[in-house]
Subunit: 249 residues, 2 copies
């Protein structure tokens, strides 16, 4: 029996956002590999080994998954959201490229999931309803200058923007700089959405202006969206809807 | 009994990419509203009215859905992919904002789906594995100058890029211009992925260089991805993997 790897997206948190394709892969797996809180979402069962590892060891985790698959095991590498968006798919392919040539014969499939920006956007309306960009604000793997340049160009392009990994304990000051750059580029009235732990019991969503945004509104479980210049509000008895229309000037 | 609207994403085509949340909404609906090929994906059943309409009547379709929900019906507005990405969510909110104030009391939920760029990315590897943007190339609702400006700024930011609605019969020359702009901004060697009808029996995926890309490689069922300057290839016995690593220089 030959092994395989499925790099699967578990969606933002709620099981009703896990695709049947991902559920089927998990049902066939012998091994689950991933970051501790994501592996914790998998129901234990006889014959399924759960390999939960800490954050920031993505390449080790990927190599472990490849080694097990090379030995004939059926391995699901789990990410939250979509595995191809700031998650395990790129890490696994980095490990594959750097690893033994024999690994390249392994069957590897990427199974998409509901990424955080789509879940967050849906909860407030449709702020990503027109052209937009997605930027990882973590500066672990890229210089701050690259982040700043991309923020300014994205504002000039009038993209709506989705930000992943806005803030961590190891770099608390970075997100304050991001807010400064955005206020200068987009003006104080631009809406910013802080969507924490969407679709989980801890879900918390705040919509404010850039003028009122403070760094403590985000943590590593927060997805941040900034509207384009055309993003609009609709006040309803059920709350405020935020959306970006389909047209541009 | 009070009506509601769910604006639901059906994913790229295969039913195993439809979330349980969307399936549950469809199971509770009295009415399905959408573009003909998307409504055709819904299994008919007793008590479920299917309202299929042609393309380019999004606002009429949205107003019809709102009117039915105001009358107490349970309406699912279907889009392919994700409803918040170049799909029906923004159209519905445009109609809501322009319509009778009474409509604002309607319960409206957006149910996310697997949008085409995530499905396409997964099929070739992880080309959107680092910062990226998503641009609708249809110039029905925005001037060509805006599209060109965004392409140039996205290239300068070194985003990977996902393009929706690249080409239609009514504007066959637009996508040729897009390729010219991209070749000038990114160079001839940059990889471009043409992913048609992903996850359906008609799926067809091509990866070429910008130098070899021609407009006829895309139609309105094609999602196009252009890599960043760091996008890489891995040759394997199972085919070529395309991915963008997690780091930037």
């Amino acid at each position: 029996m030959s092994g395989w790897i499925a790099i699967a997206g578990l969606g933002p948190g709620n099981d009703d956002l896990v695709t049947p394709q991902v559920a089927a892969a998990i049902a066939q797996a012998t091994d689950i590999v991933g970051y501790i809180p994501y592996v914790a979402r998998i129901a234990p069962r006889e014959g399924l080994a759960l390999h939960a590892t800490d954050n920031r060891v993505e390449l080790d985790r990927a190599a472990h998954a490849l080694q097990m698959a090379a030995e004939g095991r059926r391995v699901v590498v789990v990410s939250s959201g979509d595995p191809g968006v700031f998650a395990m798919a790129s890490a696994l392919f980095e490990a594959l490229e750097a690893g033994p040539k024999a690994w390249r014969a392994i069957e590897i499939n990427v199974l998409p999931g509901i990424t955080a920006m789509l879940a967050a956007s849906a909860r407030v309306g449709a702020p990503l309803g027109h052209d937009f960009c997605a930027i990882n604000l973590s500066d672990n793997l890229k210089p701050w200058e690259v982040i700043e340049k991309r923020l300014k160009l994205a504002a000039e392009a009038d993209f709506a923007m989705a930000f992943y990994n806005p803030r961590s304990k190891s770099r608390p000051e970075g997100f304050a700089h991001v807010l400064d750059v955005l206020r200068a580029a987009c003006g104080p009235d631009r809406p910013i959405i802080f969507a924490r732990a969407v679709s989980t019991p801890e879900e918390d969503i705040r919509v404010v202006s850039l003028a009122d945004a403070t760094p403590d509104m985000a943590d590593m479980r927060t997805l941040v969206i900034v509207g384009s210049s055309l993003t609009r509000f609709i006040d309803t008895p059920r709350g405020q809807i935020v959306y970006t229309p389909r047209w541009s000037r």
